[in-house]
């Protein structure tokens, strides 16, 4: 229905000129005919962005719809929910907001089409953390699933990952962060410097670990390695033996009453911390922000062993073509053009296009979130509640310091099935 010629023609007409008003369009219609088709067609398009709750935000859809002239809608699912949709009902999604490790399921299944890098105009501005596998001039840790290892494919329809840089991407970089432990500095009673503190007997009955096996095991491994209890060849891809040892120790800790709780959802981690049930636990950055908005001091504590990094990518589903594919490219270009970066910075996440994100922030916010400077005015959450006061510095320092210290990446390990079985034992113990 839609010919390639039309696409290129219409691309020369900017969004702005279309938005200027109906009169201009009517005028154009009289001459050529197809801009109306394009504007009308694009206006009727609805792009479905499906992902997890922390990044699939209604505010982003609202702003995108406003800026792009077509409708973007958000569907929130949980981790297994996204895999399930990708595998069993891919046509219900247009843009999949996947964690890097989820692409290891999606790409071999052939449900994603390659993103033509030439059509992502700001690709060159994107962080080399994703595009080159280096950060601050240094190679990024390859323990676990680092974004660079999974971002490229050899052709549009490839169903495997490329070994080096190519012209086709499996996904366009999305939000990412470096995770650590959250603490209540008023209740820990001493300084927290190491992942080992998660399993330290000082905090017996006052800790929690996330009950999401693939990530929970990472926190556990970081803690046990730091405490010198277990040694790992590669924490990003542990052996069965290493997993068994880790789970055995977790069960021992659980039976001894070390864990106050295992949390499954974001809000549970917020409540545990805010209610003082735990003083040190696995945590996600927005949860720390949420605790702080309640006026409770909670710190996302940098630890000497480094961070557990993670990243998301926006994949385009195979069924997209014609106008809808054009809309998808428009959306991917928009996603890393500033607004999203500014918005998600306030919940502690980073944009793959840091310069544009910084431009979307005030000088005070830019200094606080990206440059490791003290706040010169109150810092607020995306929804406008105060999270930090004047003079406070963001935990973990600047963007550079943070990502230069990623020790391991969230991942889908080779022994995942074994891990799941062992994690069930931990749950039932």
């Amino acid at each position: 229905m839609k010919k390639a010629g039309e696409v290129t023609t219409t691309k020369t007409i900017s969004r702005r000129s279309i938005l200027k008003g109906g009169a201009a369009i009517v005028g154009a219609t009289a001459i050529t005919g197809f801009p109306t088709v394009w504007a009308q067609g694009l206006k009727d398009i609805t792009l479905n962005h499906t992902g997890m709750s922390y990044s699939t935000l209604a505010d982003i859809a609202r702003q995108a719809s406003q800026d792009l002239g077509f409708k973007v809608e958000m569907s929130v699912v949980d981790h297994p929910g996204l895999l399930n949709r990708l595998v069993n009902d891919p046509s219900s999604i247009d843009i999949a907001d996947m964690e890097i490790w989820q692409s290891k399921v999606a790409v071999p299944q052939g449900v994603l089409q390659g993103v033509d890098i030439a059509r992502i105009k700001n690709w060159g501005e994107l962080t080399p953390l994703f595009t080159d596998g280096v950060f601050a001039g240094k190679e990024v840790s390859r323990q676990g699933d680092s974004p660079f290892e999974f971002i490229y494919r050899d052709s549009k329809d490839a169903t495997s990952f490329a070994t080096g840089k190519t012209d086709w991407a499996n996904f366009c970089p999305g939000v990412y962060n470096a995770d650590t432990l959250g603490i209540r500095p008023d209740l820990t009673g001493r300084e927290i410097t190491s992942w080992a503190d998660l399993i330290s007997s000082d905090f017996k009955g006052k800790t929690a670990i996330q009950n999401i096996p693939t990530i929970g095991i990472m926190d556990a491994m970081m803690a046990m390695e730091a405490a010198g209890e277990v040694t790992y060849g590669d924490k990003g891809n542990p052996t069965q033996d290493e997993i068994s040892q880790t789970i055995a120790r977790l069960i021992e800790l659980k039976k001894a009453g070390h864990f106050r709780a295992l949390w499954n959802t974001f809000d549970e981690s917020v409540n545990l911390m805010a209610a003082g049930e735990v003083v040190i636990q696995s945590m996600w950055s927005p949860a720390v922000t949420a605790v702080r908005t309640q006026g409770i001091n909670c710190v996302y504590q940098p630890l000497k062993e480094g961070y557990r990094g993670w990243g998301n990518g926006l994949g385009m589903l195979s069924h997209l073509d014609g106008l809808k594919l054009d809309a998808a490219y428009e959306y991917l270009n928009w996603y890393n053009s500033g607004w999203v970066g500014g918005f998600i910075a306030k919940q502690g996440y980073y944009s793959a296009n840091p310069e544009s994100a910084k431009a979307a922030l005030t000088e005070n916010e830019r200094g606080f979130f990206y440059e490791g400077k003290a706040a010169t005015a109150d810092i607020t959450s995306p929804t406008g509640e105060k999270t930090n006061s004047i003079g406070e510095v963001r935990d973990g320092g600047s963007y550079e310091e943070r990502f230069a210290n990623v020790a391991v990446w969230n991942n889908l390990m080779d022994e995942a099935e074994f891990l799941y079985a062992k994690w069930n034992e931990f749950n039932a113990a």
């Binding site: 595998v87 929690a208 009453g257 864990f259 106050r260 709780a261």
Partner: protein
Amino acid sequence: MLKKTGLITYLQVTPLTVVLVLFFVIPVALVVVVSFFRYKMLVGLVPDFTFQNYADLLSNPTTWSLYVSTIKFTLIVLLVTFVLGFWISYFLVFHVRNLLTAIGLFLLCTVPFWTSTIIRMISWRPVLGREGLINSGLQGAGIVDQPFDWLLFSDFSVVVAYVHLFTLFMIVPIFNSMARIDKSLLEAAVDAGATRWGVVWNVVLPLSKTGIALGALFVVTLVMGDFFVVTVMSGGLSGSATSGIFNDLQFLNYPRAAASAVILLIVVLVIAASIFRLVDVRKELVR
């Protein structure tokens, strides 16, 4: 004529049959079919005919410990809700003389059900928590120095939530059974020299057994089928047979989850059958 009434009967049962087949028989049949499929890592289903899922589950000690924990919760909750349900119904039926007051009090029992299950459950947290109502009350009154940790995220808090959520399911059928008891029977028993306890034991209890059986059935199926209450109230530290299913679904292991569901279904059916064996509910209901 006869043929015609036969047709009418069939027409009358058709709607219910259609609903049951569509929404009960077919889904359950699908679950049974899937339980024999193979699992492919994080992709899900591969059609097959294998007993592997059942073998995995039955040979796994985790399954057994989850069932032990579920049955433990079921028995405790059954006992507590029965004691509460029986005496609350007894009070409403035999002690409140005014029928209107009885109905009013009965409706009062349903007030908590005006909110959702989740709210009723979560609201225990600020009560039982380390900095919660009870602990800060006890500490404030100088009775204890350290907060009681076992109040929340423990088996105790799970049982509290279950009892709170499910007692009404025990009260309603028992109340219903007791309300049908002819009061003159009680008087006759007293006239014949029975003590107060004797009346309860020999008259009220046997005549309430239909209600007790139905209440028990509700409570057993609700507790055995739950994973949410146990997960939330134990802070993820305890599991149930159903949470095993939930865990499998986390990794898209539908075949094993389906096999778990079939096993759970069989266990619950066996329990239900034995309850019905003890009390012929159908006969009692038409009494």
